[in-house]
């Protein structure tokens, strides 16, 4: 059934459809409506879950860890400071191989206080062992939550579904909310191979000496890499059941493009409009929407970018002293290629500043006119 709903409520519906058993959450703008709606769903009996109203995001993640370790499907949602507070336990969930799913609404970090969108909060968690998926629409948010549970449980790793504050979280769009039956067919009940069980007592997370620790980390890496195999077949199955197609990396009019603009999140949809206009003007430009950030789809990125001369990366995030984080990842994916394009890194839209079609055009035209980047970071729309 199609309904016009906000991005945050798309998450709530997905969590309900996933028959999530334990929700633990703490309010933070712009995430709060996800868990408010889940609270209602629990109260009205539409979702049969235990909702733990914790006293912090740190405890929210600890509860999810405990619940998943006991063998139940667990979910939480947060943003910005909340995700930063969870940091220690993000490592814990991944290290304990627990497929917790988290909806993360991108919001800039303080100080100064800012509730608007920026990706630095989630990208700063890139080394925690979490899978990360970035969304461009409310429909994609709902679908990505279901896919995240499925993939996370298959590889025993936690997953984060990430989207822009306000541009999606509070924006109403038409969303096809699936019926329960096809969702049940796509996402069977969570049945981990090991869990906390009094009939089969085991110790989890014991003191681990150098003799064993490294192999455990190697297994996490192997499981993470396995997502490259699991995700395409999962997307395929999802497409068969629900009629919507997804890919880890989505090229847009990349055929014969000399210059490709790489983006993520809602900027990707704005970028497509600009690319369309520039193509009409005869410019050989294409776009690349990066949906999956961890594991990084390096091979797909190389395939998409391998033949173009230039890549412009628009980052709504910053790693101080190095630049945009997607730009770094792209450079790292391309650095061993014999014919690699020049990579231009742009920073725009920090702290929720609008990224307009005009600013995207400025990015493309700047990269187009230069032979090589003049500096590591080009700032777009910076007031002087």
């Amino acid at each position: 059934m199609k309904k016009v709903i906000m991005g945050n409520h798309a998450v709530s519906h997905a969590v309900r459809l996933a028959r999530t058993q334990v929700v633990a959450a703490y309010p933070i703008t712009p995430q709060t409506q996800i868990v408010e709606e889940l609270s209602n769903m629990c109260a009205e009996g539409k979702l049969r879950a235990k909702f733990i109203k914790v006293e912090s995001e740190h405890s929210a993640m600890a509860c999810c860890i405990g619940a998943a370790a006991a063998g139940s499907r667990a979910f939480t949602a947060t943003s910005s400071q909340g995700l930063a507070l969870m940091h220690e336990l993000l490592h814990w969930a991944a290290g304990a191989r627990l497929p917790v799913v988290l909806a993360e609404v991108n919001r800039a970090l303080a100080p100064g206080w800012n509730i608007w969108t920026e990706q630095t909060d989630s990208l700063a968690q890139r080394d925690t062992g979490w899978l990360q998926f970035y969304c461009t629409s409310n429909q994609e948010i709902l679908d990505s939550i279901l896919i995240a549970f499925r993939v996370a449980e298959e590889v025993s790793l936690p997953a984060m579904v990430v989207y822009d504050a306000f541009y999606l979280s509070h924006t109403y769009e038409a969303v096809d909310i699936p019926e329960q039956e096809p969702v049940d067919a796509f996402l069977p009940p969570y049945e981990p191979s090991v869990k906390l069980d009094v009939d089969n007592p085991m110790a989890f997370g014991s003191l681990t000496t150098p003799e064993y620790y490294m192999e455990m980390r190697h297994k996490i890496e192997e499981a993470t890499e396995r997502v490259h195999e699991v995700l395409p077949t999962t997307y395929e199955e999802f497409g068969r059941i629900f009629g919507r197609e997804y890919k880890a990396v989505e090229p847009y009019r990349c055929d014969g493009a000399d210059l490709i603009l790489a983006t993520s999140g809602t900027v990707s949809s704005t970028a497509q409009l600009v690319i369309e206009t520039l193509r009409e003007r005869g410019m050989r430009v294409g776009g690349l929407n990066i949906r999956m950030f961890r594991p990084f789809p390096a091979r797909a990125v190389r395939e998409a970018l391998g033949r173009c001369k230039k890549v412009a990366v628009l980052d709504r995030n910053i790693s101080f002293g190095q630049g945009g984080i997607f730009a770094q990842e792209l450079k790292s994916a391309l650095c061993n290629e014999p014919h690699r394009p020049q990579v231009f890194g742009f920073i725009a839209g920090l702290g929720g500043r609008d990224i307009t079609p005009a600013s995207i055009e400025e990015v493309i035209l700047t990269a187009d006119k230069l032979d090589a980047p003049e500096r590591e970071i080009e700032w777009i729309g910076l007031k002087t």
Partner: protein, 300 residues
Amino acid sequence: MNHEQIHEEELVCSGHYACQGCGGVIAMRHALRALGPNTIVVIPACCWSVIAGPFPYSALKVPVFHAAFETGGATASGVRAGLDMQGKTEVNVLAWAGDGGTFDIGLQSLSGAVERNENIIYACYDNEAYMNTGIQRSSATPLRAWTTTTPELFSKETPKKDIVQILVGHKIPYVATASIGFPDDLQAKFRKAKTIEGTKFIHILAPCPPGWKYSSELTIRVARLAAHCKVFPIYEVFDGEHYVINLEPEGKPVAEYLAMQGRFSHLTERQIQEIQARVDYDWEHLLHKAMLEKFEFRGA
């Protein structure tokens, strides 16, 4: 002790990693004997993170989940919820934390769990300092005690935090103190905790030979003396208001308890008198609370 009341099955195995004379191991042994094998233990960082043994071994015959330092209350809440959603409401969830994980870094998540009245047992085995990292002061360290961060010339200047009062302030169904010096009482309290719905908090004094600086064969004697000197009274509080004192102390002078432990060897006569005065005051205070009537609402 009435041996008939003891669970036959030993759930703590030999070969664990504890120091000789460790009060924390004795505490776990009695707790699990009382709770039985239908129990899941959540252990945030503390001595027991090591005592339980390294991968791939475990010194416990029940499931164990090792949790982050400050998450005892929250992780146990999650385990409880996860089990309940699978209909396993009869499984005991025991959060087992040291004083650091309870009084200090874990206080927030403990308070959260307790305020929600989660159906868990939270036990703090209190050895009165960060013993696992090598004897640094915690807020459970007593007044004037030596630790490596409160050296003799700068011994602890503030009294031990009254964790029981903090828990009582949350109005939970059951708060109790217990001691490894009185195992029948300790086990009875865990058996009682099993039957009460809601949060149960049990504060156990667990003397530590290397940290308190006494010879390891004296652990039980030190624990018993703490109660008999009124330093660590043995009592229960029901629903945050109804106090029951379980042990009448012999009323021995605190000096006798302090003299057994090297961590107090630097104390002056005057400091010992000050400690005695505080202990006497606190005991009187407890007696008053135990004599109060249970709260009852009477309409006009």
